[in-house]
Each structure stands twice: as C-alpha cells, then as structure tokens.
Symmetry: C2
Subunit: 258 residues, 2 copies
C-alpha cells in the first residue's frame, strides 16, 4: 500500500470521471460492482490489552452492519497476538478470533487506541503485524491513540493524521506527522480519527467512500446514529478543545453537515 | 423501586427546592455529596447471547469514564446467567464478570437490546433477575430492544418508553406501554433509549441527572463525543424514521441542543 499509494476516489458518488476515458458507469452500476467485490473482503480489528472499548466497538458495529446486511466485507476478524482473553482499558474482557500468525492477508485493518497503546508501541510482534499487513491493505484506519501504533509501524510519516485531543501535542512531538485537529482525517489510504467516539464517524465516512453514500446511510439508519448533538457543560469551548470542536458553531447549519 | 417510585429530581442543577424546607444547598455542595455517594454505587450491565455490541459498549464506556475518573459508580459489573463467554449479535465474544446468583444488589442496571432479546424474554432466570434487582435499584435503563426485556420484567406497564425505530410498532402492540418516538425517554426511574447508538446519549443524560451537567460534560469531553452530525443519504426523512428524527431540522439551532 505504501509503495503504491492509490489515487483517492471522489467522495461524492456519481461525480467522478472515468480514468479509462470511456463513459463513467452509473452510480448504481458502480455500487453494484463495488458491493459484489466487498463481500469477498476481509476487515481486521486489532485487539490488545488496554484498548479503549468504544474505540473498537463503535467501528466494529458499523462495519458489521455493513458486512452482515449490506454486502460489505464478508469476513470480520478480531485479531490479537494470542487467543487468550484480552482485558480492555475499562475492564471488559473479550476473546480474539484469530492470532497474528494465523491471520490471512487483510483488505482493511482498524487499530483502536487506549492506554494500552503506550506499551504496545514497543511490542515488536504487534508492530511487525501492522506494518506487514499494511503493505497489501487497501486501507488502514486508527481511532484515538491508535495513531501512535500506525506511526510506529511507519504508516504516518509525512502524512496528515489525528488522535484524541489530549494526545495531539504528543503526536506533534513525533516530528514527522502533519497533525490535523479534525474529527476524521484521510490521507490516501490511511484514515485516523479523533478520540474514542470519533471511530463511529470514521467508520461511516469510510463506508461512504468505499460503498457510496446510500450504503453508509443504511448503516447509519440501522444503528440509529442520529446523536442529539447536545453539549453538556462548556468544555467544548475550553482551550484544550481541538480546533474542529472550537469551530463547531452552536447553531449548526445544514452546510456544516455536508 | 416500582412500589415506591421516587420523585424525579430536576434536571437543571441548582434550580430545585430542598424537600426539607431548609435553604437549598449550592450546586457545588450538592454535587460533592452526590459524588461521594456515587463511588459506593454498583452499576450492572446485563449480558446475554445475541446482544447488540454497541448497545452495551456505548453506555459501558460512558459509565466507566464517570466511574473511573469522576467519582461515579465505583463498581461496574458485566452480569450474565453463567460466566461462560457470550457471543454477541455481530460475533464479538465477551466474558461476563459475575453471574445472576453471585450478583449483589445493584443500584443501577442497564439492559442492552439486540436480536437475542427475542429469545431472552422467555428466559425465566434472566427475567427473574431483572425484576428482582429492579425492586431496589435506583434506576433501570435499556437500549434499543432491551425495552422488551424491561417490559417482560413488569417495568414498563403504564410507562412512557421507546425502542429501535424498527420495533416501535411491536412495542405498541404490547398494549400497556406509552410508546414515545424520542431518542431518550425517562419515566421516573425507568430510562429507555432508541436504537443501538442511542445508548450513548442515554448514558450522558443519565449521568447529567445524577451527577450534574458539569460531570456529564467531563465524560463527554473525555470520550470526545461531539459527533459530526452528518446525515448520509436520505433515510432520516423516510416514513419509517422515528418522530424525533423527522422533526430534527437539517439546520440545527442552538435551541435544538438544549
């Protein structure tokens, strides 16, 4: 993947030109072909001690809804170093489905964050797994401080990326990352999300880019992901708040959503 | 709980009157006392085969952030019929921490939904556990089709409640529930949420009601729960969309958040 970065497909369905020069296929035809291919795809979710539960399960839910009912990736795997139960940052214990050694080549790999990342960036087997898979993955995605694992695997150098608001300065200190204070950042086939819950938005944007807006809309409807948008307290206006949040108007307009 | 329904505390901190007739304590004093008490509290999360992963993990994340760092419930338990691994609706396997028989009296109990609820409403041991705990719980909460389990446990008769948009008519057919097409519904100490992701909004509203707006804001900030609010496709305007969603203006105003 890194040796041959792919051109970014346009996000707006039906507006792209056909690179072969012939007439562009209709959105319906294009999505049909894409979806048929997607069923064969394998989506891996990295599991390690101290991962943050919602970092993993937000995207897991969205990708699974896509894969189970909407012709998204037919194989979804929770991948860890061993099959032993893994205790997450908030104490939930989950059982991995496959080990690094057993894992086939994935098409997509998502790396959650959490306090465990501070130790895992020094786990050679885990970093080798991520770097090795990434070579042939079509996309690698991280949530929250999962971006530090992507960086250690050599995937963020010179790229735009983000992380949890409290770790933005630490990501900047790495020196070779173009840190963006956005909720979801895409740089080619590397996608990074802001903190914890931002993985849900990341997953929907990703599904939209691969399968089209209508499919992402079906996943959103299935998960009933229409948050109230309520701000509790005033921390969203505090100095530590990331730029995308400070710029978020209290009065949201339709344009802000598009 | 059901025999002695408690008065609903006012949601706006600092505006309530003191039932003892004396001067009302300041918001700061009140929250200090409330938080000190909360540390002793036990929050249970019901686990059963076929539960929907995000129904459980959305609230789990929010309640755990509150409990771990902000003097919320010091004990948080994943409770199931046995300690055997439980496979969720989308294939994730998790390990319960305690069984129904071992579980102490809880202060709060959250019941997720998912396709597994169709079978679990007929699981006498599970329904007995929910009904028994509810008698002394300060609040019982459900997400998505978890409301059908609350109903079977006798907790929704004559009460306002909600569920996933696709199950609203089924909830209405039960005959004795005042079905509300809202994202989060509170009726006394029984809280119900709409589908899957709505459990996150439910948890924040609940934390706000117990510990105050500022604490809920800290949890929101910690989880970086400031969704983009983007609508993918047009299903949010479809006939099946729940009333709260149809009424949600494309141009959101500040008033919509308050």
């Amino acid at each position: 993947m890194l040796l041959e970065p792919k051109a970014e497909p346009s996000r707006a369905a039906g507006t792209e030109t056909n690179p072969t020069g012939g007439p562009a296929p209709s959105t319906k035809e294009r999505n049909k072909t894409m979806n048929a291919n997607e069923v064969e795809k394998k989506f891996g979710f990295l599991v390690f001690p101290g991962l943050e539960e919602l970092d993993l399960v937000g995207p897991w839910e969205m990708i699974s809804l896509w894969g189970k009912s909407l012709q998204g990736p037919g194989t979804r795997l929770l991948v860890a170093q061993t099959r032993d139960p893994v205790v997450c940052a908030k104490g939930m214990s989950i059982n991995p489905q496959i080990t690094f050694n057993e894992c086939p080549q994935l098409d997509y790999l998502l790396v959650p964050g959490g306090e465990g990342t501070r130790e895992q960036v020094n786990n050679e087997a885990l970093i080798r797994f991520v770097a090795g898979q990434a070579k042939a993955c079509q996309a690698v995605l991280s949530v929250c401080t999962g971006s530090f694992i992507l960086h250690r695997a050599g995937l963020l150098s010179g790229r735009r990326a983000t992380t949890h608001w409290s770790a933005l300065s630490r990501l900047t200190e790495l020196g070779d990352v173009k840190v963006c204070q956005e909720r979801v950042v895409r740089d080619g086939q590397v996608w990074t999300a802001a903190g914890i819950s931002a993985g849900i938005d990341l997953a929907l944007e990703f599904i939209g880019s691969v399968a089209g807006e209508a499919v992402a809309g079906k996943v959103q409807f299935g998960a009933e992901y229409y948050p109230s948008g309520r701000f509790f307290g005033t921390l969203h206006q505090s100095p530590q708040a990331p730029a995308y949040l400070k710029m978020k108007p209290d009065k949201q307009t339709k344009e802000d959503h598009l």
